[in-house]
């Protein structure tokens, strides 16, 4: 497999692996918690790297993901104690863990050489460098297969537990009264997010991985009225955004993960703008139809009402 094709596939698979659980992260309003995880896994990654000397080692991913879960659980515990208000617990926990990782790095533990830039924004090309060779034939980057496994696990988890994920995301209290194990499901899901973040760390770094998780889902949320549609659109935006960002970075000879994250941002703005424009056009057309049909005063209020029922801003429909 050519290096360019391998790297492109790696970018797409990484983006999909992040974006699908990302849809639930966005709906659960946990985006900043994931940012916390992405930073807090650093000490786990440094220690894991010192032991395994391989950023793609499953042991490293599992160990560092446990560090990520520590953020989630300690965050929930701190909220319950009431010692800190709002989302301040995140501000307490993850910088401390990240700082621990930075100190471990500066101690030059077992000669771990992780470049600061790789930690912050990752390096897709570096990640794709080690090829998997079977019978003297390269079948693409080794890292591609790691991310394929993560993607498969994420899809299987979401597919198997779809109704449960949906109800615990939408109305956790009601789910609890039905006897569903909401806490167990939440912990399992956040562990999976942690695994995904650690696995994608190599390609996207601590800062940009949040973009892979959040932006395609946030973009899809703008125009989706059903969860299944939102998941489909999330995947589509992840693929389109990744391919476009990838090629822009390639042409400009810029950092790949930064190119993808930037294009994601552009895509969000474009979709938000197009949605607003479409809403406006629908309203206008409706007013014109009313005018020509009645030959009287345009039924603006009715047109607005129709528009409301379609707009994502959704004020209430009259009784």
């Amino acid at each position: 497999m050519s290096f360019l094709l391998g790297t492109t596939l790696l970018a797409i698979v990484t983006a999909l692996a992040c974006a699908l659980p990302g849809a639930f992260v966005v709906l659960r309003r946990n985006s900043m918690l994931v940012e916390g995880i992405a930073h807090a896994v650093l000490p786990g990654i440094v220690v894991g790297f010192a032991l395994t000397h391989d950023l793609n080692s499953p042991w490293l991913i599992f160990g560092a993901a446990l560090a990520g879960l520590l953020v989630v659980l300690s965050n929930e515990w701190l909220i319950r104690t009431g010692l800190l208000i709002g989302d301040a617990p995140q501000g307490l926990v993850f910088p401390a863990l990240f700082a621990g990782g930075v100190i471990l790095l500066s101690l030059d533990l077992s000669h771990v050489h992780l470049h600061t830039e790789v930690i912050l924004v990752g390096d897709l090309n570096l990640a794709a460098f080690r090829q998997l060779v079977v019978n003297d034939v390269s079948i693409g980057p080794r890292y591609l297969y790691v991310m394929l496994c993560v993607l498969a696990v994420n899809i299987a988890f979401i597919a198997a537990l779809y109704p449960k994920l949906k109800i615990t995301t939408f109305d956790p209290e009601f789910a609890a009264t039905l006897g569903l194990r909401t806490q167990l499901l939440n912990t399992a899901f956040m562990f999976l997010v942690s695994v995904t973040v650690v696995a994608a760390f190599h390609a996207a770094g601590a800062l940009l991985v949040i973009s892979l998780l959040v932006v395609p889902a946030a973009t899809a949320h703008l125009i989706s009225h059903r969860l299944s549609v939102m998941l489909g659109l999330t995947a589509a935006f992840a693929v389109v955004g990744t391919l476009s960002g990838f090629w822009i970075a390639y042409v400009l000879n810029a950092a790949t993960s930064a190119g993808i994250a930037l294009f994601y941002g552009v895509m969000f703005v474009a979709v938000a703008f197009a949605d607003k424009l479409a809403t406006k056009l629908r309203r206008k057309r409706r007013v014109e139809v009313d005018k020509s049909a009645q030959g009287t005063k345009p039924a603006v209020s009715e047109a607005k009402q129709l528009d409301r029922s379609r707009s994502k801003n959704k004020p209430q429909v009259a009784e």
Binding site: L27, G82, A160, L161, Y162, P163, K164, K166, I167, T169, F170, D171, E173, F174, A175, A176, T177, L178, G179, L180, H221, S224, H225, R226, L227, V229, M230, R308, S309, K312, K314, Q316, V317, A318, E319
Partner: protein, 250 residues
């Protein structure tokens, strides 16, 4: 009253949010077939009482039983209608999907809702008078329609005991009427209903029994005995709303 005649009861229930005590040693019982109104001023612990009984809030002390059993044994017989302000109405889901969620408790870990479950959801929407809204995104509903969708979601569970947290909050007259019809119907079928309610003037219209709450129980029993002017005065420490009500009630 024997334990068999109670739909639910709680003994010595105390709850605190952090250092703030909310409920003190509450003993609360609801006879089978009654419509029990839980009434009291803001912050008197009405919602907390329900949530603590249903295990949504961990109490400091106390034990609750439902039909003579702990909650986990009889969950299928209990329905909960939460306050509509407790969820995100921008969530990408339709009204019929929301109502179908009432069946998720029966499905086990891996099964998905099928045609039967969706059919039940539509039937429940018909009972609350909004079947035509089944395919709407939930954010398009008005306040009253949201409450009717939530009511439909608890109807779909087909429970024997309903807990409803402020079901009439922020709704229009038409929705209120539709919901009252459903409640009357449930009551006729012998179902037990516990309603957290804040509008004093309508308490006697819906409720056969009343519990006046203000951190602890002020009075509890059949409406005629418990919902008296003196008890309301004590529970509300005669605040504005209660004063107006007491005046109109003569």
């Amino acid at each position: 009253m024997t334990a068999a005649a109670l739909a639910c009861h709680t003994r010595n229930l105390s709850v605190a949010y952090r250092a703030e005590p909310v409920l003190h040693h509450v003993n609360f019982e609801v006879p089978v077939g009654s419509v029990m109104g839980v009434v009291g001023p803001n912050g008197s612990g009405k919602s907390t009482l329900i949530k603590a009984m249903l295990g949504l809030v961990t109490p400091l002390t106390g034990r609750s039983e439902f039909f003579g059993h702990p909650l986990d044994k009889v969950r299928q017989r209990i329905g909960y209608m939460s306050q509509s302000t407790s969820v995100d109405w921008d969530f990408p889901t339709t009204v019929s999907d929301l109502v179908t969620m009432g069946t998720y408790g029966e499905l086990g870990w891996l099964r998905r809702p099928g045609r039967a479950e969706r059919g039940r959801a539509i039937a429940a929407l018909e009972r609350t008078g909004i079947p035509d809204l089944a395919n709407r995104q939930i954010g398009e509903l008005s306040g009253g329609q949201r409450q009717r969708a939530f009511l439909a979601r608890s109807l779909v569970q087909e429970p024997d005991l309903y807990f409803m947290d402020e079901p009439f909050q922020g709704i229009d007259a038409k929705s209120q009427q539709a919901m009252i019809e459903v409640l009357k119907d449930l009551s006729l079928q012998g179902k037990t209903i516990v309603i957290v309610h804040h509008h004093l003037a309508t308490v006697r219209d819906y409720c056969t029994h009343v519990t006046l709450l203000n951190g602890s129980i002020v009075a509890s029993g059949p409406s005629a005995e418990a919902f008296t002017k003196d008890n309301i005065r004590i529970a509300y420490e005669v605040r504005e709303g209660a004063e107006a009500f007491l005046e109109t009630a003569g």
